[in-house]
């Protein structure tokens, strides 16, 4: 018997097996656990099942608590600011680059005038994007972001 024939025969035999039936105890056990969960007060259930108002209040309370910890404990505020700077720094840099590119685009468009502008805008954008990408890559790879 070839492996392919064996596969077919085993497949047929297995698929002809009657599916095992769930034991009678399964559904009652599940429903007992579900009813026990359902009878718990809302605050003892998972957070995402809380009423919407309670979820908002909890989120606001946690935010205020975090702010209070940062404000009241010495040493926490500088660490929080440093962490925030790590997150915000790249975003600020990206916004600055995008602003520069937009300014450059406006300058190019105004120098070419309205007749050529619509035709040239696509290649100009591609070129600017390429130059920006090469610049960023050079800064990171070749210069190690040193300047």
């Amino acid at each position: 018997m070839t492996p392919e024939e064996l596969e077919q025969i085993v497949h047929q035999r297995l698929r002809n097996l009657p599916a095992p039936k769930a034991p009678r105890s399964l559904a009652p056990a599940v429903m007992a656990a579900v009813r026990a969960r359902a009878s718990r007060p809302w605050y003892a259930r998972p957070w995402r099942t809380w009423p919407a108002g309670a979820r908002v209040a909890a989120a606001v309370s946690l935010t205020l608590l975090a702010a209070a910890v940062v404000a009241l404990l010495p040493g926490v505020a500088p660490a929080a600011v440093a962490t925030l700077a790590l997150v915000v720094g790249p975003v600020t840099e990206a916004v600055r680059v995008a602003g520069t590119l937009a300014e450059a685009g406006r300058t190019v468009a105004s120098s070419f005038g309205s007749s050529f502008g619509p035709v040239l805008i696509v290649p100009v954008v591609i070129m600017l994007s390429t130059v920006a990408a090469v610049g960023v890559t050079l800064r990171r790879v070749a210069l190690g972001g040193a300047y």
């Binding site: 018997m1 492996p3 064996l6 596969e7 025969i9 085993v10 497949h11 035999r13 297995l14 698929r15 002809n16 097996l17 009657p18 599916a19 095992p20 039936k21 769930a22 034991p23 105890s25 399964l26 559904a27 056990a29 599940v30 429903m31 656990a33 579900v34 009813r35 969960r37 359902a38 998972p46 099942t49």
Partner: protein, 173 residues
């Protein structure tokens, strides 16, 4: 009809499918029942999303399969599941039923029945039964099974072939 009542109808509708999937993968009645309970408790937490969804059966099958694999992984040391450490030609006893089965004519006759094949499947070593079930019942490809179990494609094919050879003994005269 309350949510709990609707969920009870949901459980009654899908309990056989969930239990069958778990039992085939685990080969143990009590473990399959435990996993099935966990599956339905997870379903209850998301019942607002899956209760009326046509994808509920697929969601249940996926969760059942994942929980069964987690369950088997936790018992890896005990059952030596999917062990790559053992030599490929040293998988131990391939088929406990077959090895014990040749004793009596009654037993041979019983092996020809579906019950015997089901029993044989349940008694396969985990590393053979699980890929066989995933392939033949859950219709997963060899590649999918290898990825799901985190083993090589070659091992999946070898284990499935050996498992089929072992199962063949349960229905061959």
């Amino acid at each position: 009809m309350s949510d709990v009542d609707r969920f009870e109808a949901f459980v009654l509708r899908f309990q056989d499918m969930v239990f069958a999937t778990a039992y085939r993968l685990l080969g143990r009645h009590a473990d399959a029942e435990d996993v099935s309970q966990t599956v339905f408790l997870r379903a209850y937490e998301r019942f607002d999303q899956i209760g009326e969804s046509p994808a509920a059966a697929g969601w249940l099958k996926t969760v059942t399969t994942n929980l069964c694999l987690n369950h088997l992984s936790r018992h890896r040391a005990r059952f030596r599941l999917f062990s790559e450490l053992r030599p490929a030609d040293d998988d131990g006893p391939e088929f406990e039923v077959a090895s014990q089965a040749e004793a009596t004519p009654d037993r041979l006759a019983a092996l020809e029945t579906n019950e015997a094949l089901g029993e044989a499947l349940a008694r396969l070593p985990d590393h053979q039964r699980v890929p066989i079930v995933l392939f033949h019942f859950e219709e997963r490809s060899y590649q999918e099974i290898a990825a799901l179990l985190g083993v090589s494609l070659g091992k999946v094919k070898t284990d499935i072939h050996r498992g089929r050879e072992a199962l063949r003994q349960s229905f061959s005269p």
